[in-house]
């Protein structure tokens, strides 16, 4: 008898305390479900298409407004208004207004999901919640409507893949570079809808913010979920917020993994994803010098306080030559940056700061590039047209590199501008 993966344990728990194995189909009950600006569309499926009236467990539901905030058009404003009305009608327990921030970041900050728990979001980056040892999985809008109605959903317990991290990063190399390296080396379908479970000594040396970068970016790897073993750093972070007990879950030492990828972080240098795929990855020096017209620091991947500090470290006393857009992932991040002086450093360097939210990442409302322009971004996707313009190029990198590139107007190694 061999041991269990994190996924098997977490879904067994969510199936009501069953013992489950990869491949089995189970009905699971999540601890929390959330949606964002797409909530109004889910409401239409729920009411107009299914004919349902009442959310079964409004106490386990969260909505954020983050994808196009503040509303750029009447249409977007109507969409937000419908969501506020729905919150009132259904007594939804957790609603976060325009400006509070990006769903994954806000729900993490509020301690709404805890280690070992199950969370579904109608957003592909719900893999994010593996940073705290939860099972986070994305669903479509119709499935979210079904979750509102029944409080349950079917899923097939995934097989698992382990990524073993060793070593400490070199200067100006971050968890983002580890994530891009994984994508470049194993491809955008390397996850194959499995549970991607991180392990190894390097994890204890990663900040919580960096852990979230890795689990967040596993969406780009095609993972069903991602997982980091939670430690005291996670428990301490959650302690002031948690409103219920939890039991952290860890994979058994003899858990069955399809494969284990070993990555020595100390051997990595900054990585760049070139247009138009997140797995089209090269080392920074292969594209250094490429002209860029816009730099963007933010998103659920790299919009946390640590990322703003990284950018400020490079930009302090310098001046951006190109458009530099900085969007904190949440109001807490913004406030922390304001109090510490990091925000002032960024503004002095020429950055423009905007409302906490997803910003220009998905081409909804702001920071749209002109045709033939190139943007260097700390985001997670560089698909053609992603930022709203089909003929524009997007390069993905860590915040040090984006900041350095903002100073020179071309893709630049941070060590070059210090």
């Amino acid at each position: 008898m061999t041991g269990y993966t994190f996924a098997e344990k977490a879904l067994g728990r969510a199936a009501g305390g069953l013992t489950v194995r990869a491949g089995e189909v189970v009905d699971v009950t999540p601890d929390l479900v959330f949606s964002h600006d797409n909530t109004a569309a889910i409401r239409r499926i729920f009411q107009d298409e299914i004919g349902a009236t009442t959310i079964k467990h409004p106490e386990r539901v969260a909505f954020t407004l983050d994808h196009a905030v503040p509303a750029p058009t009447t249409r977007h404003a109507q969409n937000h208004a419908e969501i506020r009305e729905w919150v009132r009608q259904q007594n939804v327990a957790h609603f976060f207004e325009v400006g509070r921030g990006i769903c994954h970041q806000v729900i993490s900050e509020e301690g709404l999901i805890l280690p070992g728990e199950l969370i579904f979001g109608s957003d592909s980056h719900t893999t994010h919640f593996g940073w705290l040892g939860a099972f986070g999985m994305a669903v479509g809008r119709t499935e979210m409507a079904a979750l509102w109605l029944t409080g349950q959903i079917w899923l097939q317990v995934p097989r698992a893949l382990r990524i073993w991290l060793d070593g400490r990063p070199q200067p100006y190399t971050t968890a983002k570079d580890v994530a891009l390296h994984i994508l470049g080396r194993y491809g955008a379908d390397g996850g194959q809808y499995r549970s991607v479970e991180f392990a190894g000594n390097a994890i204890t040396h990663l900040s919580l913010s960096e852990r979230a970068v890795l689990t967040n970016m596993m969406a780009e790897f095609g993972a069903m979920n991602a997982y980091m073993p939670p430690d005291d750093a996670v428990f301490d972070y959650l302690q002031p917020h948690q409103e219920r007990d939890y039991t952290p879950l860890y994979p058994d030492a003899d858990a069955v993994y399809d494969e284990t990828h070993h990555i020595d972080i100390s051997a990595l240098t900054p990585q760049i994803a070139r247009p138009h795929r997140p797995d089209n990855v090269v080392a920074l020096d292969e594209v250094a010098g490429t002209p860029v017209q816009q730099a963007f620091i933010g998103t659920c991947t790299n919009g946390r306080y640590e990322d703003l500090c990284a950018a400020a470290e490079i930009l302090r006393g310098q001046r951006a030559r190109i458009r530099l857009i900085v969007i904190p992932a949440s109001s807490h991040v913004l406030e922390q940056a304001a109090r510490s002086g990091v925000l002032a450093d960024l503004i002095s360097a020429g950055a423009t700061i905007s409302t906490p939210g997803c910003g220009p990442c998905m081409g909804n409302h702001m920071g749209v590039p002109a045709p033939d322009e190139a943007t260097i971004s700390t985001g997670n996707r560089n698909f053609r047209g992603r930022m709203g313009t089909r003929e524009a190029d997007i390069y993905l990198s860590n915040p040090y590199v984006v900041a350095a590139s903002a100073i020179t107007g071309r893709i630049t190694d941070p060590q070059e501008v210090l």
Partner: protein, 164 residues
């Protein structure tokens, strides 16, 4: 006669949901028929204006990767596409297909290289066989749960039947 004939639209690997239905439309284009007008807009400008009901998609690995946006299925569904054939699907896209009553069919490697856009694909559901240009493969079986949702016509139809 159980065999149906379909015209193929053939694509490669890693086609993502941003090019199937661009994110910039996600909160402003609501109606399914309108969504369908933007189908594959940033990948194949000929698709939306020339697709006909009954056409099928034939693709390579990781079809539908990226965003979870379900409109990337809706767009094709309301163009009349009822079957998507690919060497592999992103997990999320696969689920979204089932939930909207679209049959995602896994095909052998390089099936998309054996045919080109405009070629005819023959589907024999009774025998569970698909063929095109002399290449033939068996339609892989689906789990009972998935079959149940698909035969109901999708998740909404299933939930309606349950609550009604």
């Amino acid at each position: 006669m159980t065999t149906t004939t379909h015209r193929a639209w053939v694509y490669g690997d890693n086609v993502n949901t941003d090019v199937i239905f661009p994110g910039k439309y996600t909160y402003t284009v609501r109606e399914p028929e309108q969504i369908a007008r933007h189908a594959l807009e940033d990948l194949d400008a000929d698709f939306a204006s020339n697709v006909q009901s009954g056409d099928v998609i034939v693709a390579g690995r990781n079809w539908g990767c990226g965003s979870s946006r379900e409109q990337a299925v809706t767009a094709l569904k309301y163009c009349g596409v009822r079957v998507i054939i690919a060497q592999a699907f992103s997990g999320l896209y696969f689920r979204n297909c089932i939930n909207q009553g679209i049959h995602p069919i896994l095909c052998p490697p390089d099936f998309n290289k054996s045919i080109k856009t405009g070629d005819t694909v023959l589907i024999d559901y009774a025998k569970g066989v698909i063929s095109a240009n002399g290449e033939t493969f068996n339609i892989p079986p689906l789990s009972p749960t998935v079959r149940h949702i698909l035969s109901a016509g999708g998740l909404v139809a299933m939930l309606k039947a349950r609550s009604g």
